[in-house]
């Protein structure tokens, strides 16, 4: 099988997986008991202004159905949807922010989510793995056990608790970071980047703390088993230093499954975005998703979830394609 064939096959699989995922998520929100049009009318009626007459309501309802593209049966909507998504990457207009196209909203929110979660995922991966490496390599030393205990204790703390604690400590008792973020409104000057970093610090810290417990534990057990591999033992018998063995032998090998884990977790950043962004009022895809779900904004939901599916599937694809860079055995076999 040539390299091209392999790529073609893998990408074909990728598309099929995408298709199935997107199909499932298209039909799921239909289970939602919320009619987005009712939602909008209700908002107008009872909170935002004037009580509407019946005629006005009926008129509004029919024009909204037209505008939102909710006319026709579900299959017609489905095929139109597939066509638009796969051919144009167009999710239609947002119901709640009509006539704003969903893709615009998603691409507006995307840099925020990616910026925060990619950074923190990488950071917690790095920190966790380094601590885990030390803990696993010196597993019979007391200090290493302390490092592992950090992981064991951090790992099971539910995320929302962690977040709340961090807010209290770093924004209230020691007011280093703002309680509620105020992100600068536009542009990309040095100052504004600084503002963004400053305002994102709290969610970032919680994400790193939440993530690296797992990384410590998994790296620790990997390092610990790798340490017993014959080539590490042989390296010891060669008289190499602890440092060399830990980095060049244990880490280089134990890292391989962790790379897989990293890429996969990068793919699931949207999943992680959700809770963080709700808890920290952080303007990303997660908050978008939550708002969309609560107001029955199908199009926005489809868009956000589809992005997530694409990310996970792509991460899987990327692992398969880049893994050989890390493992020479696959490169040359």
């Amino acid at each position: 099988m040539s390299i091209l064939q392999y790529f073609a096959k893998r990408i074909g699989l990728y598309l099929v997986v995408l298709f199935i995922g997107i199909t499932v998520t298209f039909f799921l929100p239909r289970l939602m008991p919320t009619n987005p049009i009712d939602g909008y009318i209700g908002q107008l009626q009872s909170r935002a202004g004037q009580t509407l007459t019946q005629e006005a309501t009926a008129e509004l309802r029919s024009s909204l159905e037209e505008l939102y593209g909710l006319k026709g049966d579900i299959l017609t909507q489905y095929f139109n949807y597939l066509k638009r998504v796969f051919l144009q990457f167009d999710f239609g207009p947002s119901f709640n922010s009509y006539p704003q196209p969903v893709s615009t909203m998603i691409f507006g929110a995307l840099p925020w989510t990616l910026g925060l979660l990619l950074t923190t995922t990488l950071l917690s991966w790095l920190l966790g793995n380094l601590i885990g490496l030390v803990a696993g390599y010196f597993h019979n030393k007391r200090s290493a056990t302390v490092l592992e205990v950090i992981g064991i204790l951090l790992y099971p703390i539910p995320y929302y608790i962690l977040a709340l604690t961090v807010i209290l400590v770093l924004a209230y008792f020691i007011p280093i970071f703002p309680l509620a973020p105020t992100f600068p409104n536009s542009g990309f000057s040095f100052e504004q980047v600084g503002g963004i970093l400053y305002n994102s610090a709290l969610p970032a810290i919680t994400l790193v703390l939440a993530g690296f417990g797992w990384n410590i534990l998994s790296m620790k057990s990997l390092a610990y088993t790798t340490k017993e591999e014959p080539y590490v033992i042989y390296a010891r018998l060669k008289g190499t230093s602890n440092w060399t063995r830990m980095t060049r032998y244990v880490f280089r090998n134990a890292m391989l499954p962790q790379v897989t884990a990293l890429v996969l977790s990068l793919g699931t950043v949207f999943n992680g975005a959700l809770l963080t962004e709700i808890l920290f009022s952080y303007p990303g895809i997660g908050l978008l998703m939550r708002t969309a779900a609560s107001s029955g904004d199908y199009n926005l939901l489809y868009g956000a979830i589809t992005m997530s599916i694409i990310a996970v599937a792509t991460a899987g694809l990327v692992i398969d394609l880049i893994y050989p860079l890390f493992d020479p055995r696959i490169r040359y076999r």
Partner: protein, 673 residues
């Protein structure tokens, strides 16, 4: 011998050090949980904290504290947003769905007539006076505009703007999403001169000033600047970002993510739409979302903002403990503002068996232990109302008192008297028992002012009797079963986190029903689903709601006009109702409503009709009205003072009503830098 320097080693070293630092942070988090406890338990006097916070923030600039958006804090009024994050912050065209909760109604737009929220009466704003009725059918009106009003770009506001707005609204009524209210109300309109417009409505209209102007919180008709809109290729997709405004403020900047928006006072505010009200005191107004209630409590107590919206009583208490500058609407119970136009109640699907029997609905009312519900969910900080409207200073004399008098003698079919006029006194006694300070409790006549004129008795035995009379008996599991012997699962929809007070009240009601033997399934929903349930017969059984009882002055029609036969759908219908959320089927009520549409809304016959409708609603127990909406609206007087309070009431104190303009001209800076 020195080894070749290794970059990788350095990297690893640096990262290890960082990780150790971070893990130290992680360690801190555990004991800190206890730290909170100390802080809250000992309730450190808030001033020190506040002062410290102010100092910390002040260090960055020389003379005074600056806000996050770069304005002097002492000149900026900061308001918690009503809706959290705006989904479409750059959409600022009022003819379409737009970022409505960012101050546009209050600061940016201007309306033909405003509503004096202290009295419930309309007064002219853009118009020169109240509309002049031109025919006996009350369908033709002449409206004079006030000369000398200018848009924020210096162009004068004239009848042309009104006509143009109506023109594009009618031309694009299927495309604009916020014009239906008046395009289906107005039949025709014409310009008489630059300051005069004449209207004809489709139906007799006794509420023209509130239909085309403000009724309680905002107007549907928002004039747009002709000279701006007519330049647009397509007005239906025009976003109108950073709009030309009629009000005294303009948008200075806003967060594209929708968390905040900053307004700046026009230098020519005097010739703005409501410049005649007086000088708005804040040079800047910042609407900002401070996040969840936890972070809001913290930020509020650190003087990071001035006015909150709905906040749960406990959070207010916690914030007050940290910062005495935070005050509620009144110094005594129930502390909060109770003068919202609407009231909370349990809505029942009267078409759905077994709720179609009045005995069953009465049983639910008599088993709703409001005393317990009110104490558990809102610490007793509420004002009950048995009459299905809010019991406010405006409505009390018109409707509440007469109906209450009638209630005292009211009997059910079996002769049982359900009304308990001593509800308030009993509540005060219970609260005292629970340890509420005597000073905070109302006494004598104030009890009725604070806790309402009375409510239904809590009498599960009578309820059981009523239920038994229609064949509903308790099963072996202790829960009521329908006459066919099946367990009766009662679905009860309540709002989720987006309305915490109703959410809590709802769960407490479900609890008190459960104790009485109803198998209640309390279901908290998002606001989208909430409205869907409210509107759709087949999805609705019982729910907490407020939208059907909004009466701010004598004009009950504004809510109740929709109580008519066309809003009675089949019990299993999935078609959306356009009103009548009480599911009234009583033809007597329909007749009364119909008759009232051709009456002057302040006339005695109209008011009598209203009282009769209320009595009918009570007899049928069509809706279990519970209490006025306790609008907590706490304020922080660290930077600004003279907010509208119980003892200094000049307008409804809400920041999300157009009456907020009165707050802006009445507040005073404290001089705190």
């Amino acid at each position: 011998m020195p080894k070749t320097f290794r970059l990788t080693r350095l990297l690893v070293l640096v990262l290890t050090v960082m990780s150790l630092l971070l893990s130290a942070c992680g360690d801190q988090s555990t004991p800190s949980t206890q730290g909170i406890g100390q802080g809250a338990a000992t309730a450190q006097p808030g001033q020190t904290t506040a002062a410290q916070a102010a100092q910390t923030a002040a260090t960055s600039t020389g003379q005074g504290t600056m806000t996050d958006v770069g304005t002097p804090r002492s000149e900026t009024l900061i308001v918690q947003t009503f809706d959290g994050k705006a989904a479409n912050p750059d959409q600022q065209n009022p003819l379409n769905a737009y970022a409505i909760w960012r101050g546009f109604r209050e600061l940016g737009w201007s309306f033909l007539w405003e509503d004096d929220t202290a009295t419930g009466k309309s007064y002219p704003e853009l118009a020169a006076g109240l509309p002049e009725v031109l025919n006996p059918q009350n369908t033709q009106f002449k409206v004079k505009l006030r000369p000398g009003v200018y848009w924020s770009d210096g162009v004068e506001f004239t009848a042309d703007d009104v006509i143009y707005t109506l023109d594009i609204a009618f031309q694009n009524k299927t495309k604009f999403t916020r014009v239906a209210a008046y395009t289906s109300y107005i039949k025709s309109y014409k310009k008489i001169d630059n300051y005069t417009v004449e209207f004809e409505t489709i139906n007799p209209s006794y509420d023209f000033a509130t239909a085309m102007g403000v009724y309680t919180w905002g107007a549907a008709f928002i004039p747009v600047p002709k000279h701006v809109f007519e330049k647009q290729a397509d007005v239906t997709t025009f976003k109108n970002t950073n709009p030309v405004t009629l009000g005294p403020y303009t948008v200075k900047s806003f967060d594209p993510n929708g968390f905040w928006q900053l307004w700046e006072l026009r230098s020519d505010w005097q010739r703005s739409g409501w410049g005649n009200l007086g000088q708005p005191k804040a040079k800047y107004v910042l609407y900002k979302d401070f996040g969840s209630e936890e972070t809001r409590t913290l930020a509020f107590s650190k003087n990071q903002y001035d006015i909150d919206t709905f906040m749960s009583p406990d959070s207010i208490q916690a914030a007050q403990a940290k910062n005495p500058a935070i005050t509620t609407f009144s110094p005594t119970l129930p502390y909060h503002d109770m003068n919202d136009a609407c009231s909370y109640g349990v809505y029942l699907n009267q078409q759905k068996a077994p709720l179609d029997k009045p005995e069953v609905r009465w049983a639910l009312a008599l088993t709703l232990n409001l005393q317990q519900v009110g104490i558990t969910s809102v610490n007793g900080q509420f004002k009950s109302s048995a009459v299905p409207i809010a019991d406010t200073p405006i409505t009390r004399s018109i409707y509440v008192d007469p109906v209450t008098t009638w209630l005292k003698d009211f009997k059910l079919a079996d002769g049982y008297q359900p009304f308990n006029a001593n509800f308030g006194t009993e509540l005060a006694a219970k609260l005292k028992e629970q340890g509420v300070a005597d000073a905070a409790l109302p006494k004598g006549d104030a009890i009725s002012q604070s806790f309402g004129t009375g409510w239904w008795k809590n009498d599960p035995a009578q309820a059981e009797k009523l239920l038994n009379s229609v064949g509903i008996k308790k099963g072996s599991d202790g829960f009521y079963a329908t006459p066919d012997g099946k367990t009766w699962d009662l679905e009860f929809v309540i709002p989720g986190d987006w309305n915490k007070v109703m959410q809590r009240i709802g769960f407490s009601i479900a609890d008190s029903w459960k104790k009485a033997g109803f198998k209640v399934n309390a279901r908290q929903v998002d606001n989208g689903e909430f409205t869907t349930v409210q509107n759709t017969n087949n999805k609705f059984t019982t729910m907490m709601n407020w939208s059907g009882s909004c009466v701010y002055n004598s004009n009950f029609l504004n809510s109740w006009r929709t109580m008519n036969p066309s809003n009675v759908k089949d019990v299993n219908s999935s078609e959306a109702l356009t009103g009548n959320f009480f599911r009234v089927t009583n033809t007597k009520i329909f007749d009364l409503i119909k008759a009232s549409t051709s009456m002057e809304t302040t006339s005695q016959p109209f008011i009598t009709n209203g009282q009769e409708i209320m009595k009918e609603l009570i007899k049928d127990m069509s809706v279990i009205n519970i209490m006025n909406i306790p609008t907590t609206i706490p304020t922080n007087s660290f930077y600004w003072k003279n907010y509208s309070k119980q003892d200094n009431f000049y307008a409804a104190p809400y920041s999300w009503w157009s009456s907020f303009k009165k707050t802006l001209v009445n507040i005073q800076p404290t001089g705190q830098k």
